[in-house]
Symmetry: C2
Subunit: 414 residues, 2 copies
C-alpha cells in the first residue's frame, strides 16, 4: 500500500516556511505500514491542484492533502476538490454549530464569512476538527481516497490522529504492523551497530531495524509485520530485551521519551533536587531542564558565570584555581560544582566550562575543549569533551552530554 502527500500553498514554494508536516505525516503512515512514494508541494491554483491530483491518482490510491483551507486563501482547495469531483457544495449544519459555539465561548459573533466556511462538497465525509475552524474532508471515489486537512501543524496532527489514521486503517486493512523505539545516548550509530551486529543479523525477515541518529542520540526503531498482532508485540519485546542487554549503558528510554523527561522522572522518583553552574553553555542546560512541565518540583535554579569574577563571586571558585589551571579545566568545574551545591543547596549539580568557539581557542585548549562535572556533595564525575568548531553544535552537544551524565549519576549513586 502506497500514498502521496500533497501540500498546497505558496509559503513552501517561496521558502517562507519549511514543510515539517510532510515528514510527520510520512512517519505516521509508515508506522501504519503505508509507504509514501512521493511528497509534492504545489501552488494554490485550481489548475495546479487538479493536475497534481490526476498525476498522483495515476500512481496511488491514497492522497493526503494539507493546506489551502484557510480564510485568507479563499478556500481554493475545497472549491477545487468540489470542481475536481464535479459535485455541488451544501451548508453543513454541524460544522456551523461547532463554529458558533466556539465563537460564543470567546464572546464573539460569527460573520457571513464563517457561514461560507461551512459549505462543504456534497461527496465529502466531514472530519470534525476540534482545534480550528476548517473541518477535514475525506473523499472516496471508487476506492481512490483523497483526504484534505488544514496546513496548521497542530490542526493537521489532531485530524490525523483522531480521524484520518483510524479511517485509513479501516479502509486499507493491511497486515498488522507494530513498532518499538529504543532511545540511546552517548554512542554513535556505527559503534552501536557494531555492538548489536549479531542481533541485527539474526532478526527474522518480518522485523526491520532502523537507525535514526541526531546529535549525540540514536533512536533504534524495530518494526514487525505479520498476521497476529499479539505475537508480533511479543517478538518485538524479546528483541528489545536482547538489544538493551547488549548496550544497557546507552539505553535511556523508549518511544517518545526525551533525556530531559527521563532525568526529570529520575529526580522526582528519588526526591532529588538539581541546579546548574554553566559557563560556555550559557544557560541551555537550565533551559532544557525547565522545558519540562512540572520541573519546578526538582529544579531549583542556575548560575551562569561567564567571567572569572562571577565564577569567584557566585560560585566561590578560588582565584588560585582559576589562575593555576584556567577557567576550562577539571579543577575549575569541580570547584564550580562544589560552590554551586553550597550556594544553592541542591542534592545534585551540573558544572560546565569550555570554549564553545569560534574564537578563544589556544594550541593547548583548542575550540571545542569542554569540561563537565556532575555530582553531589560526596561524589563527582567529570568528563572532558573535545568537540568541533561549530559554536551552536558544541553548546547543544555539551548540554545533551551533561544531561546523560546526570542520568548515569542518578542510576549509579542514588
Amino acid at each position: 500500500m502506497t500514498a502521496h502527500i500533497l501540500t498546497i500553498g505558496d509559503e513552501i514554494l517561496i521558502g517562507q516556511i519549511i514543510d515539517s508536516n510532510s515528514a510527520w505525516m510520512a512517519e505516521q503512515l509508515n508506522l501504519q505500514g503505508i509507504r509514501v512514494t512521493k511528497i509534492i508541494s504545489i501552488s494554490d491554483t485550481a489548475e495546479a491542484i487538479i493536475k497534481a491530483l490526476d498525476a498522483s491518482f495515476a500512481e496511488t490510491d491514497l492522497i493526503l492533502i494539507t493546506g489551502g483551507l484557510g480564510p485568507t486563501k479563499d478556500d481554493i482547495t475545497k472549491k477545487t476538490l468540489a470542481q475536481y469531483y464535479g459535485t455541488g457544495m451544501s451548508f453543513h449544519e454541524p460544522s456551523f454549530e461547532r463554529l458558533s459555539g466556539m465563537f460564543a465561548r470567546w464572546g464573539r459573533a460569527t460573520t457571513a464569512a464563517h457561514r461560507e466556511q461551512c459549505f462543504m462538497p456534497d461527496n465529502a465525509v466531514i472530519l470534525t476538527n476540534k482545534t480550528g475552524t476548517a473541518p477535514g474532508m475525506w473523499f472516496d471515489n471508487e476506492g481512490k481516497i483523497a483526504v484534505s486537512m488544514p496546513g496548521v501543524p497542530y490542526e493537521m496532527k489532531y485530524l490525523m490522529e483522531h480521524e484520518v489514521l483510524p479511517l485509513i486503517a479501516k479502509t486499507f486493512p493491511g497486515k498488522p504492523i507494530t513498532h518499538r523505539t529504543i532511545l540511546t545516548i552517548g554512542e554513535g550509530e556505527s559503534r552501536i551497530a557494531h555492538r548489536i551486529q549479531d542481533i541485527e543479523e539474526g532478526l527474522p525477515e518480518h522485523i526491520k531495524l532502523a537507525y535514526l541518529p541526531n546529535l549525540g542520540q540514536v533512536r533504534l526503531r524495530l518494526s514487525a509485520t505479520g498476521d497476529n498482532l499479539a505475537v508480533l508485540k511479543e517478538e518485538l519485546e524479546a528483541q528489545v530485551a536482547l538489544i538493551r542487554g547488549q548496550i544497557p549503558e546507552f539505553v535511556f528510554g523508549y518511544e517518545k521519551d526525551t533525556i530531559e523527561n527521563v532525568v526529570g522522572q529520575l529526580l522526582l522518583k528519588n526526591r532529588k533536587s538539581i541546579a546548574t553552574a554553566e559557563s560556555c553553555t550559557g544557560g541551555l542546560v537550565a533551559h532544557r531542564i525547565t522545558s519540562i512541565p512540572g520541573s519546578s518540583a526538582y529544579f531549583e535554579g542556575s548560575v551562569v558565570a561567564y567571567s572569572y569574577a562571577l565564577k569567584e563571586k557566585l560560585l566561590n571558585v578560588s582565584p588560585e584555581i582559576l589562575s593555576t589551571y584556567g577557567a576550562v579545566s577539571e579543577e575549575t568545574v569541580r570547584a564550580m560544582l562544589k560552590g554551586l551545591l553550597e550556594k544553592l543547596g541542591t542534592d545534585i549539580g551540573i558544572a560546565i566550562s569550555g570554549i564553545a568557539g569560534p574564537g578563544g581557542g589556544t594550541p593547548e585548549k583548542p575550540v571545542g575543549t569542554i569540561w563537565i562535572a556532575v555530582g553531589n556533595k560526596n561524589k563527582t564525575d567529570t568528563l572532558k569533551l573535545q568537540l568541533g568548531k561549530s559554536r551552536s553544535n558544541n553548546i547543544k552537544y555539551t548540554a545533551t552530554k551533561a544531561m546523560d551524565m546526570v542520568r548515569r549519576f542518578l542510576l549509579e549513586n542514588v
Copy 2:
C-alpha cells in the same frame, strides 16, 4: 522563469528527516527572480528518478536535484542521470586530485570506492564541491537544465552559492531583481500592515512587499524588478526609508540581523555589560545572548531562580515582597532586577518571572501571565504579558520580548 526542486532519498519519505533544503533553495531562487512551481520528494530508484525528470521537464526548463550522491546510496542519482541522458561515464581527474589531497591532509589513503566516486557522466559540467567528496553536476540538454547536488545541507548551500546560482544567473539572464528586508519586532503582521497601508498601496507595480511573520517578529521583504539595477536599489532604499519612518519603533535591523546580534552590537558600541535574572524562561534569555560569538565581551552571567528561596538568596528579593505580591508581579521583577545589578555589577539587567504553564495558573494570574523588567540602576522599564497556554511558545516569546526591551532601553537611555 520557473523551476522545480527534486529531492531524492527515502529519508524524507519515511519521515526520518525534514526537508529543510528545499525551502532554502526556493528562497534563493525567488530572490533571483525564479519562481519555484513544484517541490517533489521521491524514492532513490532509477525508475522514480527518470519518471520525475520527464514529468518536471514537461513543465519547466530548470530542475534542481539534491540527494542520492552519497557512497551509501550507490550513487544512484549520478548513474541514473547518465542513463537518462544516454551518456557514458569517464574518470574525472581534477575531482580525484582534490579528493586525494583532502584525504592526504587527514592522513588517510583513498580507496577504490573513492576512484569510483570520480567517474562522472560525459555530458555533465562538474561543479567543484570544496565542502565534501561528491561534486555537483550541471546538465544542459538544449536549454533544459538539470543540476545535481549532494543532500547534505552545507554542501548543497556551498554549491548553490558558489556555482549554481551564478550559473543560473548567466544562463537565464532575466530582468535584474533586487531585495531589501526590514526586520521588525514587537508588533503583529496585521497591525504593521495597517500602519504602512498607504506606503504599500503606493508601491509601483515592479516593487512587491511580502510579510514573513515568526513568533513576535515580522520580516518585511521588498523585491524590485526592472531594467537598471542601480535605479532599483535606489528605489528600494527610498521605500525602506518610508516604511522605517512609519514604524520606527518596531524596526530593529535589516537582512540577516537577529535581535541577539543587534542587542549585542548596541551593548558593544555603548560599552555596557548585561546579565539576566530568570525564573520562568529558565535560562533561555542567557542562552540566546550567549549564542552570539564574542558575547563574552558584554555578557557577564545569569541567575536562574526558580524557587522563592533562591530569589531571596541569590537576588536579595525580600520575603515580604514575595509574600505580599507573589513571585509573578511587577514588584518582584523590580526587586529581582535590583538584586541582580547589585550582585553581578553589570550596567544593564533583565529580570523575568511568570507562569509558563501548562500548570500553576490561578484565576487571578492565569497561565501565560509574565512580568519582565529591564533597566539599569537609575531607570527600569516593566512589561506585563498575557500569553497563551503553550509552555514552549510562552518561554520563547518572552525571551524575544525581553531582548526587544533591552534594545529599546539602550536606544532611549544610554
